[in-house]
């Protein structure tokens, strides 16, 4: 297959391009050409995912994603000369994610945990080989990926799991403080032990 020109990340080494990384948070940016007419399917699919939460639940099981979004790019905004109007044959699917762990682990998880959803989404794009086996899927993502030139996170050392644990602890801690405000030392000790048991998975 003539893959023609590819995104810059396709030529990246096995290491993460420096622009895609801030601390423990990594960016992935993928832009793929949508087959004619399939943009309608994508709009229906994403509308369904957005309104029927249980369908999007597997994404939460991929507990290493902070934020992710897809966009059907159906027009390139025009700003006048010297920009030339873009006459493209296709609409494009833009995917951006912010996650922890290695790039390989990320794509493997997509392949193994939400493979059907990946087919539903990227099956609309030219060249998608399917999520399994994972090697061609990784090669496909690499070809369509663009390395960030600048990437920044407000909490770069925190994984998604740690953020969620911290928020849960914050909630339980606030409740604990309110409940123990007027307790004796003995009562406080019992409540504190109960708190420790309750939050041990959050520490």
């Amino acid at each position: 297959m003539d893959t023609g020109q590819a995104g810059p990340a396709a030529t990246a080494t096995a290491t993460v391009p420096a622009g895609n990384l801030d601390g423990r948070v990594q960016a992935i940016t993928v832009l793929s050409p949508i087959k004619p007419g399939w943009w309608i399917w994508l709009r229906i699919l994403f509308w369904t995912l957005g309104h029927l939460q249980f369908l999007a639940k597997p994404l939460t099981q991929l507990s290493f994603i902070h934020y992710a979004h897809w966009a059907v790019v159906d027009r390139i905004p025009f700003n006048g000369a010297p920009q030339l109007g873009a006459r493209l044959h296709y609409k494009y699917l833009l995917f951006e994610s912010n996650f922890n762990g290695s790039w390989d682990q990320y794509i493997e998880a997509f392949s193994e945990v939400v493979g059907q959803r990946m087919t539903a989404i990227w099956g609309s794009s030219f060249g998608f080989p399917g999520p399994i086996p994972v090697a061609p899927f990784k090669a496909y993502i690499r070809r369509n990926e663009f390395a960030a030139n600048y990437y920044w996170s407000a909490y770069p050392q925190a994984t998604t799991t740690i953020v969620l644990q911290a928020l849960e602890l914050q909630h339980k801690f606030g409740r604990f403080v309110a409940q123990t405000r007027s307790m004796s030392a003995v009562e406080f000790a019992d409540a504190y032990d109960a708190l420790l048991t309750d939050v041990q998975q959050d520490l």
Binding site: T29, T60, W70, P77, L94, I162, Y192
Partner: protein, 184 residues
Amino acid sequence: MSNVAGQAYSLTVLTPVLPDREPALRASLQQLNEGRRSLFEQLGDTHLVRLVLVDQLVYEGPPQLRDTLTSRYLLFTAVFDGALEPFLNRLCRRMGPVIDSVWSHCVGFPGTRDPGKAITYFRHNQIDATFFYAAYPDASVAQVLDALTLRERFTSFALQAQDMQPTARQAAFEATFPSSSRPR
């Protein structure tokens, strides 16, 4: 709206690069990397930012027909708290020189001297999300940072307090987490 999940907003902007300005834009983006930590921190409400130069579209071979971009494009994505207009306002007013240093290389950018025009420019070039996922959609940047700090402090306290007597532990807790600093 697909750009919103809970209280979080995902903004994507795609702007054309002026002819022959790609090297200068790359240099500006490299300079951002050199001052990286403090730049967007000053906004206080921004979770993530990325800037990506899109130089060409991918061709996967037949039956796809080849699409060719006639301009390079700068892709800007930010995830932040709250609504779009206030964010763009803060971006243009507090980070004017930084924004100018990047987008001055893009077609039609009016500069941030008149923030209203710059905001109009960004909105004109916005690409709406079709689906936006957030792992903690209702947590602001401030809340996340507070929670992370609390987690660290409470873990440290739990280790120190494990052998304390009840009275000492309660006193140590109140000294470590005074009423004024506790989450409400």
